[in-house]
């Protein structure tokens, strides 16, 4: 299965992209030149810095950026310009602000500039580096997807397994409950669930809340399919054999029924991550999820809710590109996995 993934060009590309994204995000303190809440009012809404390769005038032959200065125009808006008299060479393994990562305290950053600032994706309204915030925010956005997907999958497997295995009244009850979950439009359910907690909570609580909400919404559709599989699996002779050997119901479900749903579960796991990444982004975008100053890809986009901001500072849309790329990679990976595990459905 893994070999087939590697052989497929698009799957390999998405695997590599995802690996790079996760590495960047996990080692965010190192790769980001600044911390997520380091602000500088002199750079509020500064546009992305143009990285130059060399300059003959200044006898500078390694990559560098010019200093960003601003003037105030007639509308009292800042207009940023490049001050070509002042150049900041980009220094790799630069000594910057101190950070702690997994018990290691360090002040080395992957890149940075001395005596100035470098904003490769621009800055937000408080002059915080968007690139750094995207990396820190990715820690939340990319992990929420996986954790919520794992939780909803486990619930779906367990409940679907139980419903199919026992059948009868238990099956009926559980499936009616599933139907209720499935018939409610997901967004409204999400809002209703969110309503059962106080509107303003800190980011750690918000993180867990998002995970709980997303997995609560997602398990039902998985449970329904697993139930169908379990319903036919329980008629197998090895299940009767297991019963005859004196295994209890729980052991039979866990050891003899659920393992057969593995390939479906794996595909469902990968293919449901995108929905959860989107769900987190939507909640945070509306201000119901991760709160400032913490960053997530969703709440970074909340600045774009005002049309004026999009027009004047289009670089605040960059986090959306990250969501798009991550989601696309998971979709491609899931599709290739499904084809690899189920050769009958090759055409899709």
């Amino acid at each position: 299965m893994f070999k087939q993934l590697i052989k497929n060009k698009s799957a390999l590309t998405s695997l590599i992209i995802l690996a790079v994204l996760y590495l960047l995000v996990i080692f965010a303190p190192f790769f980001a030149p600044y911390s997520y809440d380091e602000d500088d009012v002199l750079y509020a809404n500064a546009p992305p810095a143009k990285i130059r390769i060399f300059s003959l005038k200044n006898k500078q032959f390694t990559p560098f950026v010019y200093a960003q200065k601003f003037t105030i125009n007639n509308y009292y808006q800042r207009v940023y310009y490049e001050d070509t008299s002042q150049i900041f060479p980009i220094r790799f393994f630069h000594k910057g602000s101190r950070y702690k990562f997994l018990f290691i305290a360090s002040d080395r950053h992957f890149f940075g500039v001395r005596n100035g600032k470098i904003f490769i994706f621009g800055a937000d309204y408080r002059g915080r580096d968007l690139f750094s915030r995207i990396l820190y925010g990715g820690r939340i956005s990319l992990s929420v997807g996986i954790i919520a997907s794992l939780i909803s999958l486990s619930f779906g497997l367990l409940i679907g397994g139980i419903a199919g295995y026992f059948g009868g009244k238990i099956d009926n009850l559980l499936m009616r409950f599933c139907e209720i979950m499935m018939i409610t439009p997901a967004f409204y359910l999400m809002l209703a669930l969110r309503a059962s907690f106080p509107p303003s909570i800190d980011s750690t609580q918000a993180y867990f809340l998002i995970v709980v909400i997303l997995s609560f919404i997602g398990w039902a559709s998985i449970a329904r399919i697993i139930r169908g599989m379990s319903l036919s699996l329980r008629e197998n002779e090895f299940v009767y054999a297991a019963k005859a050997c004196g295994l209890n119901h729980f052991q039979i479900i866990m050891r003899h029924i659920l393992p057969f749903t593995f390939s479906y579960a794996l595909v469902a796991f990968v293919l449901s991550i995108p929905a959860y990444i989107g769900g987190e982004a939507a909640l945070s975008l509306l201000g119901l999820g991760i709160q400032e100053p913490q960053a997530s890809w969703g709440n970074l986009l909340s600045g774009a809710m005002g049309i004026v901001n999009i027009r004047l500072f289009p670089w605040i849309l960059i986090p959306g590109v990250f969501i798009l790329v991550a989601v696309a990679c998971f979709y491609i990976l899931g599709d290739v996995l499904r084809d690899a595990l189920d050769p009958k459905r090759k055409i899709l």
Binding site: R176, F177, E179, I180, M182, I183, T184, P185, A186, F187, Y188, L189, L191, A192, L193, R194, A195, S196, F197, P198, P199, P274, G278, A281, A282, L285, L286, L288, L301, A304, M305, I307, I310, R311, P314, L317, G320, I323, L324, V325, V327, A328, Y331, I332, I347, L348
Partner: protein
Amino acid sequence: MHHFILKRLLYSIPLLLGITFLTFLFIQIAPGDFLDNLRLNPQVSKETISLYEQKFHLDKPFLIQYATWIKNLVRGELGYSFSYKAPVARVISSRALNTLILSISSLIFTWIFVIPLGVTAALKRNKFTDKLLSFLSYIGMSTPAFFLTFLLLYGATFTRLLPLSGMHSVHFEEFTFLGKIFDLIRHLIIPTLVLSLGSICVLQRIMRANLLEALGSQYILGAKARGLSNARILYVHALKNAINPIITIFGYQFSELLSGAALVEIIIGWPGLGQVTLEAVRSQDLYLVMGSVLMGSILLIMGNLLSDCLLAAVDPRIRYEK
């Protein structure tokens, strides 16, 4: 058929009861309620608050409150919105209509594109056109609705052709009837595009797969052997069978459409159900949340029912009678 529809409608009653009970539970778990805001307001007297409490049984235990709500619902009363200071039914009915307009226009737009694109992709299987469509559909599927809205709005700021927010222009009331419709269509373009793109991408792939499966089956070979023209085989024999599974998916798609519509409504300022639900959740306006969740679920159930009926109408093999 009537029998089937009736059965389905009866069956949806316990579902709706379940949904509303869960929603009621979730909102009541939350610390505080809307009256807390009123209590903090020095202009509101204690008598008013206790009047509210008695009128809506807010001082009674949870189950009694829910039972009261259901009792009122049966009488056709959805309760009172504290923040709008109006009956919920009045707040919601116009909103639900707006959401429906948006959903239906995106449905139409989606279906105009799905079938031709799916057929093209299937006929050019593994050629450049197919690969391009497949690539584009991955991108379309992966673009979150809100991000696409931002992108389109950004583009629209340059052209100045399309309105950037809301559902009507400021001078809407002064327009003639045709002018009103034209104005509405102009406002519909961006949200419709956003909502349709995702489903076009997904359904187009499914349409392609279905058509390929149909084209590979025995009866197509038979038709070829009888000397039917390629066009006739494709449009009369294969296409008919390929469309059926998509109609089933249409029901599920409706659910995603409603959820997607809610987010786009909020961003674009479309006065629909999603927007009002968000406001209601933020201000803990209990009955308004209940009303809009109920309304959303009813729309969804109707969508599913419609897709089942449509399927029966299109596919003669499906008969719901025993």
